[in-house]
Amino acid sequence: MEKDFDFNRIGKRMPYKTPEGFFDEMEARIWKEVQREPIVPVKRKSYRLPLFAGVLAVAASLALLLVLHPFASDEPTDGFTHVEQAFANLSLEDQAYMLEIYQDDIFMNE
């Protein structure tokens, strides 16, 4: 009877290799990369209250704009323009942070 292939003959030996010092270099590269951005703790519940306050503030600003609009200059503007302008003024990192935190928030997406 033909003898089956014996796994013990090879064990965990593999033909794959890595460059010299690869694992240390990989660790150094990853450490450098993770230091670039701080760890963002994601605790969604804790963001509800400040966010709600933020939404109220935006709503209040909009209401104020509507009330003051007749006396304001003729420059075409609205609340969203201000919000967009403020968002555009943030750094790319802060924009990414805001998007990550608020993108699926029910208050922002109602």
């Binding site: 593999m14 794959y16 460059p19 694992f23 990853i30």
Partner: protein, 181 residues
């Protein structure tokens, strides 16, 4: 995967990010790299996917709620990264012939020792298996994980993993017998 050490790693990550990072890397960098490498074969792809795995782990370890072992969670992220690499490759293929050619191309990596003929053939046998069987075989045979842990990593059941492992092993034996015969 020792749970005690994992608990220490998580605690260290929470207390002091650098020492936690060093412990995390000391325990998992090689395991994660080799797990990915066995699936994607190319050293460059394995390097990128391993790097991405640790960046994800490090940035989101606070979201780890302990529903599974920490090591299982890391392997799961690593597996997803490896599968993403394979998916990207498959998107560029149009036929089964292409798929076979792709396997040969993958094995033509600079960092493969072709003098070890038997181990090259064993890897080719593993690569010819469907992904679920590859994962079950690799994680059991090389990483010595139990079926429950593998099931948690692959989103399957322990029974299905066990079946996949045994089917994979039989196919590999058949393949190796046919070429060594």
């Amino acid at each position: 995967m020792e749970t005690l050490n994992d608990a220490k790693i998580v605690a260290a990550l929470n207390e002091n990010t650098e020492s936690g990072f060093r412990l995390l890397m000391a325990k998992y960098k090689e395991a994660v790299y080799w797990h990915i490498r066995r699936l994607v074969v190319s050293h460059d792809d394995a390097q990128d996917a391993a790097q991405e795995t640790f960046i994800r782990v490090f940035r989101s370890f606070r979201q780890f709620k302990g529903e599974c072992a920490f090591g299982t969670w890391i392997y799961r992220i690593a597996t997803n990264e490896a599968l993403r690499v394979l998916e990207r490759r498959r998107d560029g293929l149009v036929s089964l012939d292409d798929s076979e050619a792709e396997t040969n191309r993958m094995m033509a990596d600079d960092y493969v020792d072709y003098s070890d003929w038997e181990s090259v053939k064993l890897q080719q046998a593993i690569l010819s298996l469907p992904t679920k069987q590859q994962l079950a075989f690799n994680l059991r045979y090389y990483d010595e994980l139990d079926y429950e842990a593998i099931a948690a990593i692959t989103g399957s059941t322990a029974a299905a993993v066990k079946a996949n492992y045994h089917i994979a092993k039989e196919k590999i034996i058949k393949y190796m017998n046919s070429i060594c015969g």
